[in-house]
Symmetry: C2
Subunit: 692 residues, 2 copies
């Protein structure tokens, strides 16, 4: 297959790419981060790139627009004629026919850090399911020629009282076959002194020569849009590293329904999506492991050796300063995700989860050998999948429940997890109800003209002056409001979910939009206009000179409608859940997801996204699904608790409730009077308070 | 890689073979059966072939001796100068440089049928570990949207009382992941009517649409030289087919020690030998499955479909006359073999099994998913490996014990299993001792000039006239003795183990050899001679015109020495085991292995291979290891019994006993006086009696 040279600027990344692939593919291959929310379908417009024209002897290429495939109609939705003439293209639409020098504008560069997805670690006793036992044995002798495994099993029994393990002949799972394959060498390497890792007091999953007391695990939260993984020291609960990536399946569709459709239309679709996720997880694992090595190490060579003593030597070289972990060192893993993400990764046919009455293939928790999933950790380790509550309320919600434990509380708690779907749980120690509602990915910044994820440079808070309609705002990653800094210093380049919600509230409070969400007919604001190109009514939040993208950041009438649909779905869901439970009030509202960390609880309340509640009792709980994954990774009891709660929680299918449509339409409006807003001050967002 | 055309005659098999491979490799690739006991090391001389010289337009080749690699020195051990000039080569020594037309002489053709390896089926209750449950369920509804698996688990509980299975949240192994992958389709295919296969009341390993009551399994006996596999209907114990092949690892060495050495010398040796066995097992499984299809079926296409309903349609087409089984239909497997065969297949490092005190890697029985072994049966089925007693007494001996159950007897039984190694068990319900002794493969026909396996045409019995020294004999596969048939009618082409033993006895009885095994100095017999080529003393058993190989079949002084070494090893072992046990007599002697089926018990006794015993109490038990594999496949209780007996039997290491060498040297001689032989009559061999 013929290849062409592709060079990205300003990063300078370059490489040979097979002709026919597009620029977005090339970026992925070469490690260039280009933003893409739709995953290459040409529907988000986030992946704009500039193709250089001319001969660049310095770089050894001649780059032309005509070296790429023809202009596609859908590109016109995001790129106007002037921009097109300058050489702007959507990276996902431009296929490579020959060499090209590609400039990636600031706005198209994917931000790496997604602070808000970081799982919180609640206090939890460390009692992992994998435990290590240090054994010193006598070597075989003429009078004692037992098998190597039998020697270990009896030592475990005599030295630690582990009687259940394999000494009973009916216990069939005493040792993984892979462990047996390494056993003869490892048991002899340090003179019959070994450390044995035992899973659930049932099965030996690893044997190492000598004393190796530390155990490591990973907790993975697979969202429809984002995947987060943490590497954890299981004895101390210390998080060694956390990695975030966009779900690679986004290229098959933004939401779960389009992924199911991809599976239905393609024979190999399910396998393909599963493999993509497997590869992505392996890349994250590699990155986390690399973080435990000195930077200049040839990681791959050492980490892939089958001889563990090489690894130990390497560790010795760094004077113990670096842990130098290899895949085999990860002896436990917990994965959470919604039912569809769970089914796709496990290659379980998810089609019926999308059809009423939405039965999943399996609800109970699963333990699957890492080697059978192709996940690069210790091959004999088990990957634990938390149970699914129901078709549309998955293991991620079980993780949230296990983290927040409303079933231990007298107070009635409402837990709202806002991701690509909204998942709601209501109840206390007496009764728990759960449901899901389709919010769409609006709160993750999709479907919004200047929407973006809660990454540095994203507007997360705004305030509009009721008289002048002047705007001040704050971006993620900077404590200062825009009126305290020099123009351009905030490197603003979009609005994230909480900023979108804030904007709606401010536009309403200042009379720019009305109760139904429409721009008031008589607009005095200089920031209000009808966009000459798109013909949409819009309000300018940041002027071009304040941004890194060189254009005004606005919110349009269409954007406002999207936000209204999302918030109404959540509100109607909450109301119906409360009715089912038999309460007209809730004591505590916990908002999970990155969104929750950045919002102003009062505004959210007043804009009618959540039911009435004391604003002090609205608590952001961050990535609670990720937290639940961590907790169940660290504590065996909590893992059983998650099995129990998944069976105990009652699932409510909103679609079956006749009142849903009425409630939903009602909830589209802004419910409160605009003068019920408290006086607005530039307060610090809760995330900052929280992290201190 | 360049290829050459190779044509075999008289079979007519032809094909393109990569240059550099040898004729034996080519035969294997093209499905031509050429005998080879040493597996291509050039040490057995069984693979002689004739290379045609000249142009053969009919076949489209020009064949020359020079189209093959140069003559190798070791070929001269088996091919004399005249034969060499005619174009005779050893197939394993002749590498292909260009096209060749190869004639395979009768004597070099491997016989397919090895009757003596057929496992016997003792009466046993059918109580397999995999059981099938027929379930009819209600489909999901708005009020019952449980997962598909949960629906099945609760139906198993309600309809069959299988409570332990997965309903308890701590039961982690309720359903194989592969079953879950097929579940949504199969559960809906016949309107929520399925048949569920449950392994050990613990785990669902298969789900089929509709009623499918029959279950099938395979029992495999992996010998150092021969592999036998049977396909069994698990509800009726009916054996549907049995396949026999030579162990493909023979090419790495005839005995277990040379295979261990191959592993020690080659980094990938262990994996390679394991893969070879895996492939061989898969070929046997395919052959057994094919036997359940009409001959003209495109088996591969249908059998490899993932859609089971295609298979069911195919079955319908044959009016149920054929079972039309596919790999997925095999839901259970039991494998027995000696410790080294066990370790090699599982890729467990066998090196320490060869070094005193010979500890194996593992003794206990193992259950390993077929998919993790690469064995083409139902991928979620378990393959059960019987336990190893000790380093040199493996799972094959446990199988023999389970089949013969001496631990249920008051009589003191001596069980002798003669294969490439000799394994001995002595005892009764009070105490059981086991040991192994190195007999070498002499009783399987190796190391003997005209030795062969117990296949049709092999001399299994002889009688020598004390006066005339004339010989009459009987071959495997024919009831008639040679003096009752026309010359050449028996198609004699070698001597098998029992014939070799018989020959020794007859030569001694008639005074041709003396007590020490040497030919008497004064020989009057016209059948005695010194071979002019080899310079070895020899005795002619069959003249060239009686054979299909066109040469005299003889027994040489060297052959006699080999037999003496083998029988002495067994005798010394038996004696020392009796001394350890504290008995000077045994009540019953059971001789396992093909050898046992063909021998004359009295002669064996008198020649000093086994201890004194009432000749009526010497019982051939055939392939008892294979029988044990069958029994443990069919009966769950017997499987537990085999775990128990492996722990209970005491292993004696002969090498540790000082008396061994004395006993061994003593046993080389023939212990009884020649006139203590009973009058010899041509009696029917016990195998015939037994099979009726």
């Amino acid at each position: 297959m013929e290849k062409a040279t592709i060079i990205f600027q300003p990063s300078g990344r370059r490489g040979k790419i097979t002709k026919g692939k597009n620029i977005l593919d090339a970026a992925r291959e070469l490690g260039e981060n280009i933003e893409s929310l739709c995953g290459g379908k040409g529907s988000c417009g986030k992946c704009k790139v500039l193709i250089a024209e001319g001969n660049y002897p310095k770089y050894g290429v001649t780059s032309h627009l005509k070296n790429l495939s023809r202009w596609r109609k859908k590109e016109a939705n995001f790129i106007n004629t002037t921009q097109r003439k300058k050489g702007l293209r959507l990276a996902c639409c431009a296929e490579i026919k020959n060499d090209a020098l590609v400039f990636v504008p600031e706005e198209s560069r994917a931000s790496k850090q997604i602070v808000s997805k970081r799982p919180r670690l609640l206090p939890v006793d460390c009692d992992p399911v994998v435990k290590k036992y240090d054994l010193i044995m006598d070597p075989p002798s003429a009078g004692d020629a037992r098998g190597d495994l039998e020697r270990i099993l009896s030592a475990l029994n005599v030295q630690y009282g582990l009687k259940d393990l394999g000494c009973d002949i009916d216990n069939l799972y005493s040792c993984d076959i892979d462990v047996l394959r390494h056993l003869p060498i490892r048991i002899r390497e340090q003179n019959w002194h070994v450390t044995v890792s035992v899973w659930m007091n049932q099965e030996i999953i690893r044997i190492l020569p000598g004393s190796v007391p530390d155990t490591y695990g990973i907790a993975i939260d697979i969202g429809t849009t984002t995947v987060v993984a943490s590497l954890v020291h299981l004895k101390s609960a210390r998080i060694l590293d956390t990695q975030y990536i966009m779900n690679p399946q986004v290229k098959y569709g933004e939401d779960v329904i389009s992924r199911i459709n991809y599976h239905l239309r393609n024979k190999e679709g399910l396998r393909q999506m599963s493999m993509d996720m497997g590869e992505a997880l392996n890349r994250m694992i590699e990155a986390m492991l690399r973080s435990t090595w000195p930077e200049d190490t040839h990681w791959t060579e050492t980490a892939e050796t089958s001889d563990y003593s090489d690894v130990q030597k390497q560790r010795g070289k760094t004077d113990g300063e670096f842990l130098c972990l290899v895949p085999e060192d990860i002896e436990d893993a917990v994965i959470v995700g919604n039912t569809i993400m769970h089914h796709i990764l496990l290659q379980l046919d998810p089609r019926h989860v999308a059809l009423s009455p939405f039965p999943p293939v399996v609800q109970k928790s699963l333990n699957i050998k890492a080697r059978n999933l192709g996940i690069s950790i210790c091959p004999s380790a088990y990957v634990h999948f938390l149970p699914n509550e129901a078709g549309f309320v998955g293991a991620d919600n079980v993780a949230v429940l296990t983290a927040e434990a409303p079933y231990k509380s007298d107070q009635i708690q409402l837990i709202i997890d806002i991701g690509t779907n909204g998942e709601l749980v209501l109840g206390n120690r007496e009764r728990l109800l759960s449901t899901s509602c389709a919010t769409g990915p609006v709160f993750e910044g999709a479907e919004i003209t200047y929407g973006m994820r809660a990454a540095p440079g994203a507007i997360e808070r705004i305030a509009v002056d009721p008289e002048t309609h002047e705007v001040t705002y704050k971006v993620v990653g900077n404590d200062a409001w825009s009126n305290y800094v020099k123009t351009g210093e905030l490197k603003t380049h979009g609005i994230c979910g909480s900023g979108i919600m804030d904007t709606l509230a401010e536009l309403y409070r200042t009379g720019i939009i009305n109760k139904s969400g429409a721009f008031q007919k008589k607009q005095i604001s200089s920031r209000y206009r009808v966009n000459p190109e798109t013909r949409l009514k819009e309000f300018v939040i940041a002027w071009a000179d304040e941004t890194t993208i060189g254009r005004d950041i606005t919110i349009t009438q269409k954007d406002i409608r999207h936000i209204q649909l999302g918030k109404a779905a959540i509100y109607a869901g909450c109301k119906l859940l409360m009715r089912e439970w038999g309460t007209d009030r809730v004591d505590v509202i916990k908002i999970a997801g990155g969104f929750g960390l950045h919002i102003d609880p009062v505004k959210t309340l007043i804009m009618g996204m959540i039911p009435d509640c004391d604003p002090k009792q609205i608590v952001p709980v961050g990535n609670a699904a990720g937290t639940g994954a961590l907790i169940t990774l660290l504590n065996r009891e909590k893992r059983s608790e998650s099995d129990w709660v998944a069976q105990m929680v009652e699932h409510v299918d909103l679609a079956l409730l006749q009142e849903f449509n009425d409630e939903f339409i009602e909830a589209l409006h802004i419910p409160h009077k605009k003068d019920s807003f408290p006086h607005l001050e530039p307060i610090l967002p809760p995330e900052i308070l929280f992290q201190k």
